[in-house]
Symmetry: C2
Subunit: 191 residues, 2 copies
């Protein structure tokens, strides 16, 4: 499907605000792809699809996850986490996206995970730092993203986990695996 | 083994400072056991043994963990975590402790885990709030422990995870499982 028709399809499935966020994530992802020698086309596709399931009914999302035999741990966490794997399934089954890396970038854009590919990191980071986002420390994340994807990912996952823990919210195990692995890469002393 | 001889054995395996900590944890655990209808004898045994492996050589601890086919994830975390499962193995193999609940209280006193027994929680909390400990918020934890073991455990594991994340230190997966489960019990909104 060509980009303009795909954008119309996506726009129809979400609010205007959310669609504008998707377009900003897409622009951010394309820029970062260019400077990091990642396929701009793959970055664009993953970014366009990343929130495609965001406005689906909770029960429809649950049905899709159950049918697809997805990670059952998801069901004991808030359904906010579900739209990412559901989005990957929709991109594959309704839009014929078969590139595993694009699908994983959609699938893990909310939680992160251990052993993320460069494209997965790119989408995770772009979703967090797109120009519409605003939270303490975001300028530092944007600066890091412009310099080094790896350093930016470490700071983004730390920021996410810290935000959740500070408000006493649950942390999905994949996110802690991602957090721990990025510390290990830096050689930080453990515990 | 009677308590006095056991204490001598334990004292010989650690520094004076550490042994004094063990005695304070033991007194704290016995008091909390009495008010929470938990066996005072089990609380005393678990507390006395909890740090028995703290001063063992790292290589000896690694050997014991490998021989006992312990959780391999431990080896990619700091060896500070190892003394807890190693202590449980020593209590069983060298001192003949066969009570599974006592052994688990020793084993999980550093990380916590999901589905902790009352005795496991008691030891985890006592280790954290014994009179020699001093950190911001400890008085609140002591107050909660005097009132309700469950609330105290939720605050203790939150405090531990928050401390680690704030200093960008790794968090063992069992600790996040414990943290998530205690939030669920309170019905906190997830993510």
């Amino acid at each position: 499907m060509e980009a303009d028709r795909l954008k119309m399809e996506i726009a129809q499935r979400m609010s205007t605000e959310r669609y504008e966020h998707v377009l900003r994530v897409t622009e951010t992802a394309k820029k970062l792809a260019a400077t990091n020698r990642i396929s701009i086309e793959k970055a664009e596709q993953a970014a366009l699809f990343h929130d495609i399931a965001k406005f689906m009914d909770k029960s429809d999302q649950q049905h899709i996850l159950e049918t697809a035999d997805e990670d059952p741990r998801l069901f004991s966490f808030h359904h906010e986490l579900w739209h990412a794997p559901v989005g990957a399934i929709i991109a594959r089954d309704e839009f014929g996206i078969n590139d595993k890396d694009i699908l994983n970038a959609i699938r893990y854009h909310t939680t992160g995970r251990a052993n993320m590919s460069p494209l997965e990191k790119l989408i995770y980071i772009s979703d967090m730092i797109e120009p519409g986002r605003n939270f303490p420390g975001i300028e530092d994340l944007r600066k890091k993203a412009a310099e080094n994807l790896e350093t930016a990912m470490e700071s983004c996952i730390h920021q996410s986990v810290q935000f959740l823990v500070n408000k006493r919210a649950p942390v999905f195990p994949d996110s802690i695996d991602c957090y721990n692995q990025h510390l290990e890469k830096k050689g930080t002393v453990k515990l």
